[in-house]
């Protein structure tokens, strides 16, 4: 891993069009600003990892399970708020 030391208001460039700026350092928290083209999505890592895991868990369910699911109906208003 490349390690760089930066102060508040200093930036790092990744490629030609991604700029990561340290905005503020306070205690153990760092506020970071990211300028990137729209085609590059930016996420908090833990949220992205959670989605990866959720997608893998949901991918390609067994066909037997699908038959039962097709019969499942949304709860009625009464069932939802008993």
């Amino acid at each position: 891993m490349l390690v760089l030391t930066r102060r508040a208001n200093q930036s790092i460039m990744i490629g030609a069009d991604v700029v990561v700026t340290v905005l503020e350092v306070r205690g153990d928290q760092v506020r970071i600003g990211i300028d990137a083209p729209r085609s590059i999505s930016v996420h908090r890592e833990e949220v992205f990892r959670e989605l990866e895991a959720a997608n893998r868990a949901a991918a390609s369910p067994a066909s037997g399970a699908l038959e039962g699911l097709a019969a499942l109906r949304p709860p009625t208003e009464r069932e939802r708020r008993p």
Binding site: R38, S39, S41, V42, H43, R44, V47, F48, E50, L51, E52, A53, A54, N55, R56, A57, A58, A59, S60, P61, A62, A65, L66, E67, G68, L69, A70, A71, L72, R73, P74, P75, E79, R80, P82
Partner: protein, 140 residues
């Protein structure tokens, strides 16, 4: 089967999905009869060589979660060229469980589709309080 798929509109995920970055082209196929609230999002791109790509069960969140109001971030809306909320079709991925009544929906990462262009993406609702496993059927 392939004949049917050819007639279905193709959804295009330019950025893939988290966990499946290389799978971009999908078709939406109804699961079961017309009353079924579920569809299958079936990939047309194999994950590796000759093996079939993944498929995901999806549903309309309004049917199961009437209070669900995700705020789609500007970047996702911009990437999909959504100009108003009416342009968007919202779907959520279902994790099928045994028994099926214990199945859950991913409200943290809804699928957003531009109805007109069929461009699609999985949004990431950071800090929304929504979870990846919300029960479809409320517990009694």
């Amino acid at each position: 089967m392939s004949q049917v798929e050819e007639q279905l509109p193709e959804l295009h995920f330019a950025g893939g999905l988290p966990g499946f970055p290389d799978v971009r082209r999908f078709v939406l196929v109804r699961l079961g009869d017309e009353l079924s609230p579920f569809s299958v999002l079936r990939s047309l791109d194999g994950n590796t060589g000759d093996s079939a790509g993944p498929e995901f069960v999806v549903t309309h969140p309004a049917l199961f979660f009437p209070d669900y109001e995700p705020e789609i971030d500007d970047d996702t809306a911009g990437r999909l060229e959504l100009e108003s909320a009416d342009d968007a079709l919202l779907l959520v991925i279902v994790t099928v469980a045994d028994p099926v009544a214990a199945s859950t929906a991913n409200l943290l990462g809804p699928i957003v589709v531009n109805r007109h262009t069929r461009a699609a993406a999985q949004a990431v609702l950071g800090n929304s309080g929504y979870a990846t496993r919300e029960a479809l059927v409320p517990h009694r």
